[in-house]
């Protein structure tokens, strides 16, 4: 009652209601006319003003972020003039800024992402299913759930160190173990002489396993979120029809969660594409004109089957590494090369994100909500 209108003071103090009827009809009549015209009240004016200021602040933050992004994109496109051309994506790296291209990095990133997705999807979705659907609530499970968020916040270079210690060292040991020996391949169906199949310790698989570590917490968190959004009544109804827990998870819960899971996976994967730090930590090549397995075009994926086996065990570079390398070159003409690299990287990222949108659309259309 601190905001009393002086003219209405008596009316306010007298207005008492019993059973909805005014006690004192006379004083109720004396209440001043109400105006709904804006600006009639000092308080409403300041409140409305605050509301407007707040809306403008929000609008400003949105458009400021957008403006920065647009300026950035425009600057990059402007810088890329002079090098961005079709042969930039068909050439491999070169010491000449006129010839340098991103092909090796593009293929390196392709293989990395392929294997990162192959490792992180089963492990990530599997962990999420275990945590959300199977595990009984216990102290350990709660500790794991809380710490997943912490793992997602660990800087990627730390995973790079871990990857170096665990994966690269193991790869080196394996390479040494099999060097020059005959190895019976899968089920003895084919023989591979590993000495002819050079296995580097800084290979694609080591890089992909490290990137898997980087994105796994995010993949798990996104999948958990998607699983949690599936109504419990679906699980109960499925179990009541005599489905086992596995059938319930596989036929009801995962299909219902699939749009969310796939979006999470694809967005995490596109984050992995931009990662340079853990790969540099692992010792990925900064300057190379070799594509992994020597495969330089999509057609060669089909025509060079032997190289397909070699690619995951080959050394590599990746787009962000090459961009970083070019940006450090003393020759000023490399600025355009680095900018062109960024443009290609952005195009790849945007295509992956649009794939995410399409996948989400189709995955949710198969569900008949």
């Amino acid at each position: 009652m601190s905001e009393q209108d002086p003219s209405g003071k008596s009316a306010r103090t007298n207005a008492g209601f019993i059973n909805g009827a005014p006690v004192n009809g006379e004083s109720a009549k004396r209440r001043p006319a109400v105006s709904f015209v804006s600006g009639g009240d000092r308080h409403i004016r300041s409140r409305l003003m605050l509301s407007r200021v707040f809306a403008w602040l929000c609008r400003f933050s949105t458009y400021a972020a957008l403006a920065v992004l647009v300026v950035l994109l425009a600057a990059i496109f402007y810088s890329s003039i002079g090098r961005l051309s079709p042969d930039f994506v068909t050439n491999t790296n070169s010491t000449s800024p006129v010839k340098a291209g991103i092909l090796a990095g593009l293929w390196g990133s392709f293989w990395l992402i392929l294997f990162t997705a192959m490792f992180s999807v089963p492990v990530g979705v599997g962990s999420a299913v275990y945590l959300e659907e199977i595990a009984k609530d216990s102290m350990l499970i709660r500790i794991i759930k809380v710490n997943l968020a912490n793992l997602a916040g660990v800087p990627s270079i730390v995973y790079g160190i871990l990857g170096y210690t665990v994966f690269r060292t193991s790869a080196a040991a394996i390479a040494e173990l099999f060097d020059g020996k005959h190895v019976i391949g899968v089920l003895g169906l084919f023989k591979v002489r590993l000495s002819k199949l050079p296995m580097y310790e800084d290979n694609i698989l080591v890089g992909a396993l490290t990137l898997t570590l980087v994105i796994l917490p995010t993949v798990i968190a996104a999948s958990q979120e998607a699983l949690r959004s599936v109504p419990g009544s679906i699980r109960v109804a499925s179990l009541a029809l005599g489905a086992t827990r596995w059938q319930t998870i596989w036929r009801q819960v995962i299909p219902a969660a699939l749009p969310g899971i796939s979006t999470g996976v694809i967005l995490s994967t596109s984050r992995a594409i931009g990662e340079a730090a853990p790969l540099i930590m692992l010792g990925a090549l900064t300057y190379t004109s070799m594509c992994p397995g020597g495969i330089e075009s999509p057609l060669e994926l089909l025509t060079k089957p032997a190289q397909l086996l070699q690619a995951p065990l080959d050394q590599f570079t990746a787009m962000p590494i090459e961009i970083y390398d070019w940006s450090k070159q003393p020759d000023a003409r490399f600025t355009a090369v680095a900018a062109s690299g960024i443009v290609v990287l952005l195009v790849v990222l945007l295509s992956i994100n649009s794939v995410a949108m399409v996948v989400r659309h189709f995955a949710s259309r198969r569900l008949k909500w």
Partner: protein
């Protein structure tokens, strides 16, 4: 009723959620091919009792059950009992209809499919016969591939009944199957129960006393976790032997 053999027989059943006991020494016999209504005020344990009959309570962590429940003569509390097989024979329809986000056909075919039936023709026949039994076939026969979510509430509930029938159960448990439906849909569900009890044993939990008196042959009254009284529905509603039962059915409490 005594002419029918027992489909379900609960013997001295105690049920706990953690330390909290919700059922006290419940013993009840459900005759085969009849409708048994479980009535009582909210929280009296009637739904919990219903869910012990297909062991859906197993899903609740920290729940514990003592005593015996014989379904077709077998004690389903026995550790050797496979709940998956049990639930195939003891179907359940829930208060809120829970169609899967799939087509009408896939909803009905789900039970047989998880049990291993793959033959498309067999499934198609089964889906049709179950939808007919659930009095839904005429309404959906031209749109079996559309989403089950597009059906009305009453149709969804009949779909859930059809889905339950598809696993070829002996017993159907219904947890307030009509409480979220309008009077016309409720009427259809009640008629359906009347038809189904020729071939199935039905146990229904209901808050609606008129419904209990309309559809059931036997009524059991629960209060605070105890089975106060059970017997032929006519007798329970006209000459209950317990004062509590009379107070409840005449609307003095609950």
């Amino acid at each position: 009723m005594s002419a029918h053999p027992a489909a379900i027989e609960a013997r001295h059943l105690d049920f706990y959620y953690g330390e909290h006991q919700v059922l006290f020494d419940v013993s009840l016999t459900v005759p085969e091919r009849s409708v048994t209504a479980l009535i009582g005020p909210s929280g009296c344990g009637k739904s919990t009792f219903l869910r012990t009959m297909n062991r859906m309570n197993d899903l609740i962590e920290g729940s514990r059950c003592q005593g015996e429940i014989l379904v077709e003569g077998q004690n389903i509390m026995d550790p050797a009992v496979d709940v998956v097989l049990l639930r195939k024979h003891v179907g359940m329809v829930f208060q809120k209809s829970t169609p899967f986000p799939k087509s009408i056909f896939d909803n009905v075919a789900y039970g047989p499919r998880v049990a291993g039936e793959k033959n498309r023709a067999v499934l198609a026949d089964l889906v049709e016969s179950c939808l007919r039994k659930a009095a839904l076939w005429e309404e959906v026969k031209d749109r079996l591939t559309t989403s089950a979510m597009s059906l009305s509430g009453g149709q969804q509930q009949r779909l859930c009944i059809a889905r339950t029938l598809a696993t070829d159960p002996r017993i159907i448990l219904m947890d307030e199957p009509a409480s979220a439906l309008d009077p016309a849909s409720t009427d259809r569900i009640e008629n359906l129960i009347g038809e189904l009890c020729a071939n199935y044993t039905i146990v229904i939990v209901t808050h609606n006393m008129q419904q209990a008196s309309r559809v059931s042959h036997q009524t059991a009254f629960f209060y605070k976790g105890k089975l106060i009284e059970s017997g032929p529905t006519m007798k329970i509603f006209t000459h209950p032997s317990e004062k509590k039962t009379e107070d409840y059915i005449t609307g003095r409490f609950g």
